[in-house]
Symmetry: C2
DNA sequence: TGCCGACATTGATCCTGGTCAACCGCGCGG
DNA sequence: CCGCGCGGTTGACCAGGATCAATGTCGGCA
């Protein structure tokens, strides 16, 4: 429904990098599906049962409160696998942040994937629990610092970090408002800890200072 | 305040009440270990590899920041299993909240437990993600309401809810201070939503009101 | 049964981050 | 090429919850 073909040529080069993907055993590989920026991959309440691997782009996983407040529980970058649930129903929404390609793995119901899924689930659990510490007990500066370090880490620990998501997304991930995120970033910039190469690209100048802040 | 001494005592067999729980296959069952209130079951950094099932009592799982701030990521009540990690190291602390008995399952390294562990990991992941929404986007009243409902739910949905943990524990679970937890509880009491039977026992009088608050 | 200490409640004040609002700047379409 | 709109930044003010402090109460044990 939402997936549609799109021109790969138009994509920024950093979305095109191939990644070393551990293919799934016992799962039928579907062709890559394309999701334009902002489109839904699956919705809360929908039937689950298919796994997704990000080929390029980025995905946000989130829940909503009745009044529209949103909590993003995870971002998924190239190479990462998402879509598994505790039961047969999706408890979250998944949306493409930018133009995103995902490879779909359809699993034969007879196949036992637990051996391959367990490490992923445990990794996700650990990440979620670490995120709980950030949301429950850290202040705005600490949250943003932790976020920048997490993103740098997940992109290979380079000085230059891509932020595929908007300030709004960052805020909804960190439990902050967009204004607070913005203010903290400028404060970090003024302190010489980071440099904003563009809105969506940050260079980390003082990694140790950031580390000291982020915990 | 938080006892660090690990005082593991094995109970005489006539104390070992069995409870209706699905035993593990392929795991050596150890006798029940007894942990007095406040004692450590395992520590962050320790080697993992053993599973625990709460026989009686309650357990808190938490992390600490350098300055002592604490985030409890989960409580485990009777019947629940905890102790599994993404790698061979514990990333969290586990402590007995009250006098607690845990059954230890030692797993032969050859045995593949993933089939049995995956549902538990996924359940934990879902709970953690729901907790993220609470910590990231809900205010104090909503957090406490959600907590009371969660506890009621996990105790069979009865009107009367046992809170095995202190206000401090509740605060560190909800990302609030002990004072705020206390104030919210008195406010709920004044509104006739709950009744405090004792410090550790709450009766839910208006479940629907609580539900509306907890989201 | 009464005492003590830990835990909990309540009150006063402070401060971080939210809210509301104005403005900026870039990219896109007319 | 200009103007519009969206996303981001910045500022002023506000409020929810933290902090600091005093008091209250429960429960365990002598």
């Amino acid at each position: 429904m939402y997936a549609q073909a799109s021109a790969k040529i138009e994509l920024p080069s950093h979305f095109q990098q191939p990644h070393p993907s551990p293919a799934f055993e016992g799962a039928a590989v579907q062709p890559v599906s394309f999701f334009p920026a902002g489109t839904e991959i699956y919705a809360q309440g929908e039937k689950a049962g298919v796994l997704y691997q990000v080929e390029f782009g980025a995905v946000r996983i989130y829940r909503l409160l009745a009044d529209g407040r949103r909590q993003i529980s995870a971002f998924h970058l190239a190479g990462e696998i998402f879509g598994f649930e505790a039961d047969s129903t999706h408890h979250f929404f998944a949306e493409a942040i930018n133009s995103t390609g995902v490879r779909v793995y359809r699993i034969a119901s007879a196949t036992d994937m637990s051996r391959q899924l367990l490490p992923l689930a445990l990794k996700g659990l650990t990440r979620a629990q670490e995120h709980l510490l950030v949301l429950g007990r850290q202040n705005a500066i600490e949250r943003v610092a932790a976020f920048l370090l997490e993103m740098a880490d997940r992109q290979g620990g380079l000085r230059q970090v891509d932020l595929p998501m908007s300030r709004n997304d960052i805020g909804d991930y960190l439990g902050l408002t967009i204004e607070t995120v913005s203010r903290v970033l400028t404060r970090l910039k003024e302190k010489g800890v980071i440099r904003l190469l563009s809105l969506r690209s940050v260079e980390i100048l003082k990694r140790d200072t950031l580390l000291a802040m982020g915990e």
